[in-house]
């Protein structure tokens, strides 16, 4: 009896040449659902202005009364279209150190944004978006006196932002993990305005720099302390013992204790850190960073006393080895766990000399079976793996070095990428007298209603050619909005604004750590009321 396969695996994976731009263009065209992608012209930012402060009205020519804004059309299960996205104004985010956006969450109907500094001299802040569209700061890390008489902000970065309902919480609360020279800690807020510490520094070891990956599973809160801080060492990424912690019930109002939920590195010294925690299939899943062999995926039911029994689901970077050294985003969607992999920067981890490589999207079933959605076709101990979308790594774009965010909104899975093409294009040499090359590329936002068919948003703020990383995606729980943070290339921002003098290069290049927040599916704020046309307005009761 023969077992001859009639559908050639190779033809399933066949697409186009590997040139990054050609691949990207072909991917956009080849996608069977491409027609669903919005093709309306990018209208730029909405007329979203801060209302003028109270002052004597100035008569102006007659104006049409402002029409109420139309909310974007939204039907459950349909992806947001390009026209549904708009950049938010930065009013209220003006602090010099507030450029690194490090967390995004919806809480009690409002969007919260964390901003961080890259070094301990900075200050961590949390902002809430107001109904007016402005941002208001709701948390600023307090100053901490140091032994030498100087003061430094207690927390310089927010490293996690999540809505959880821990044991003892009457309702879901906003939780934040921080990075601090005193050891990372956890903040909690019931109302989104008042934040209090609910953990010791470093959880159980104050040499842990930060607290990341705040996740709730089976009524318990899990977190990953990460990095190292001592008098001699400030290492944001690595810690001597990568481990997940679980909160233990508090007694008499005391802070909960934290204990390890797994063995350090799951018993494998080549696992350098825990990258993600995700709940799916009734399990808590964790991924590791492993530049020697590739990431590992583990899961547990968290039964019995910690440390729990964990089961390994994937190893060796899903058999792509070191090129899949890290899972950079994970989400539960449909009946699967979705993993996006990535390498830092331009697809090369300089510390461990891994890369270059583009990102993969991998789907894991409840039974531990797995498939490549977009990535490299390969032979594995689990059989021949063919990318289900026929897209190669990076969604068929070598510039997409990480799938940096995954999120489910309104029944649709969204994936955001890190893309270094804007940096590449703006660094290309330009001959004297020649115009610089057109700006191309940019971080990409993809979506799928079923996980099998993917489309990219190709216009508008969700396809900004100056964007280099969609760092966070956050969906409002009622489907009322999708937000993401977008890191920008300063050179590309300048190029977009035509800050170019032939033969001289860029003028007034913005810094490279600018970022913005993009909102999708949220009605624009009402424009300010039209000014009065009464030639004799009543006197203001306030005299000054």
């Amino acid at each position: 009896m023969t077992d001859k396969k009639k559908t050639p695996a190779r033809s399933k994976a066949k697409a186009t040449k590997a040139d990054p731009k050609a691949k990207r263009d072909a991917a956009d065209k080849a996608d069977p659902t491409d027609k669903a992608t919005d093709k309306t012209p990018h209208t730029g930012q909405t007329a979203d202005k801060t209302p003028p402060k109270a002052r004597k009205p100035i008569p102006k020519p007659p104006a049409e009364p402002a029409a109420p804004p139309e909310p974007p059309a939204r039907t459950r299960g349909l992806p947001l279209e390009a026209g549904a996205f708009r950049a938010t104004p930065r009013a209220g985010l003006g602090a010099p150190g507030d450029r690194l956006f490090s967390g995004l969450a919806w809480f009690n109907g409002a969007l919260y944004l964390a901003s961080s500094a890259k070094a301990p001299e900075g200050v961590a802040r949390i902002h809430r978006r107001l109904a007016s569209g402005d941002w208001a700061m709701v948390y600023e890390s307090p100053p901490q006196p140091l032994g030498d008489g100087t003061r430094m902000s207690r927390d310089y970065a927010i490293t996690a932002l999540a809505v959880l309902q821990a044991p003892g919480d009457a309702a879901p609360c906003l939780y934040a993990g921080t990075a601090s020279i005193l050891g990372g800690q956890i903040l909690r807020s019931e109302d989104g305005e008042t934040f209090s510490r609910v953990s010791p520094h470093g959880l159980d070891d104050d040499t842990r720099l930060s607290v990341t990956q705040l996740t709730q599973f089976d009524g318990r809160v899990f977190a990953v302390p990460r990095g190292t801080i001592t008098d001699e060492v400030h290492e944001p990424r690595w810690s001597p013992e990568p481990v997940i912690h679980v909160a233990q019930p508090a007694e008499d109002g005391a802070e909960p204790g934290w204990v390890p939920a797994c063995l350090p590195g799951f018993g494998d010294l080549t696992n350098l850190e825990i990258a993600t925690l995700t709940v799916a299939h009734g399990y808590l899943y964790a991924t590791t960073i492993n530049p020697s062999h590739g990431f590992q995926l583990w899961r547990t039911k968290a039964e019995g006393a910690p440390p729990y029994v964990w089961e390994q689901v994937l190893t060796r970077g899903a058999w792509r080895y070191a090129l899949n050294m890290e899972v950079t985003a994970a989400a539960a969607f449909g009946d699967a766990l979705w993993l996006g992999t990535g390498l830092p920067g331009r697809g090369h981890d300089a510390t461990h000399d891994v890369g270059p490589g583009a990102a993969e999207l991998i789907r894991v079933g409840a039974d531990g079976s797995w498939d490549i959605v977009a990535g490299e076709m390969r032979f594995t101990p689990d059989g021949l793996k063919v990318p289900q979308t026929a897209m190669s790594a990076g969604f068929h774009n070598d510039f997409n070095t990480a799938i940096s965010a995954l999120c489910v909104h309104d029944g649709v899975l969204y994936a955001g990428t890190a893309n270094w093409e804007p940096r590449h294009v703006t660094e290309l040499p330009v001959e004297e007298g020649e115009a610089p090359p057109a700006l191309t590329g940019g971080a990409e936002l993809w979506h799928s209603t079923d996980g099998a068919h993917w489309s990219r948003i190709t216009e508008g703020p969700a396809a900004d050619p100056a964007g280099v990383r969609i760092r966070h995606l956050a969906a409002a729980p009622d489907g009322a909005g999708l937000a993401f943070t977008l890191d920008l290339s300063g050179q590309a921002v300048a190029r977009k604004a035509n800050l170019w003098v032939t033969g001289m290069g860029m003028l007034d290049v913005p810094p490279d750590d600018e970022a913005e927040v993009i909102l999708g599916g949220v009605a624009p704020e009402a424009p300010p009321a039209p000014l009065s046309l009464d030639p004799d307005p009543p006197e203001s009761p306030q005299t000054d």
């Binding site: 023969t2 001859k4 695996a9 190779r10 994976a13 080895y321 000399d353 032979f379 059989g383 897209m391």
Partner: protein
């Protein structure tokens, strides 16, 4: 006509064993090393091989003798050589077409000449000849590959002190990866030779699935016997080789031995360079191939 399969790898990377297996599938035809990618015409290629280097000429001579006359006698090889010399103006593609016609249009040619990977343009030439060809990249640990290379050259009395197998490994792999980047997804696949040889039935079935050829137990069983190839043995005096001499002397596979293949750690001392480790670019590439 079926597009061919090219097995591409640095020398001493199990291409003889694995290429031999793939060539014994009922739907394929395993060629000896014909070396038809390093020039534009048969004359160019033939002339570029130094006289007396019958490593590089034996394969085509034996193949043509076998296809033209059904035997690989000295006389048949002499006539094959004359056939070649009269067709110096033929392109590689025309020679391949001649071979394909003689083998049968329904058979997939399997080819693994070492010269294919010695320059990127050689690989590109193959791709130009066969735009739909499949390319299977075999890897072997850089330390064991280098050691094997040195042992072979030493056995032929070469000056192994001057050899730098590490750089040769890197150069060949770099050529292959650069070439792979030009191919359609699914046209190129890579596998560790050590992995395949530890469980050949399992991985040969995956390769068959990839190539869309029969992966029944009977087909897989046929592949486990490369010794049944008419080219799996020493040829006549003027064309003795056409493959790795060690393989030609012992083409029957010892699967127990293959299952025990060891992979040293990447930071191990290099046997031919005391107190030295592999270069960083070699370690990086090897790690990404799955060595650790």
């Amino acid at each position: 006509m079926r597009s061919p399969l090219f097995v591409i790898a640095p020398p001493r990377s199990y291409t003889s064993v694995i290429g031999g297996m793939l060539g014994q599938h009922p739907e394929t035809y395993g060629l000896p090393e014909v070396n038809l990618s390093h020039g534009d015409t048969l004359g160019d290629m033939w002339d570029s091989i130094p006289v007396g280097i019958n490593f590089a000429t034996s394969g085509l001579l034996r193949l043509l003798a076998q296809l033209h006359e059904g035997e690989q006698t000295e006389e048949a090889v002499i006539r094959a050589r004359q056939w070649i010399l009269r067709r110096g103006h033929w392109t590689g593609a025309k020679v391949f077409a001649h071979i394909q016609e003689a083998v049968g249009l329904d058979r997939m040619l399997v080819e693994k000449s070492p010269r294919n990977i010695m320059a990127l343009e050689n690989l590109q030439r193959l791709h130009t000849m066969f735009p739909q060809a499949s390319f299977l990249h075999l890897t072997r640990h850089p330390i064991t590959q280098g050691r094997s290379m040195i042992d072979l050259m030493d056995s032929y009395g070469e000056d192994v002190e001057q050899m730098d197998p590490e750089r040769n490994w890197l150069r060949a792999q770099t050529n292959i990866l650069a070439f792979a980047h030009e191919l359609d997804p699914g046209q190129y696949m890579r596998i560790k030779g050590e992995t395949l040889l530890k469980d050949p039935k399992f991985y040969l079935a995956q390769i068959c699935e990839w190539l869309d050829i029969d992966r029944s137990p009977e087909a897989i069983e046929a592949m486990l016997h490369p010794e049944t190839s008419v080219y799996a043995g020493i040829g006549p005096d003027s064309a003795p080789f056409g493959n790795d001499p060690n393989f030609l002397l012992e083409p029957t596979l010892d699967f127990d031995r293959l299952a025990r293949i060891k992979e040293p750690p990447l930071d191990a001392e290099i046997p031919w360079k005391p107190e030295a480790e592999l270069m960083a670019p070699v370690r990086r590439m090897a790690r990404q191939f799955g060595y650790a």
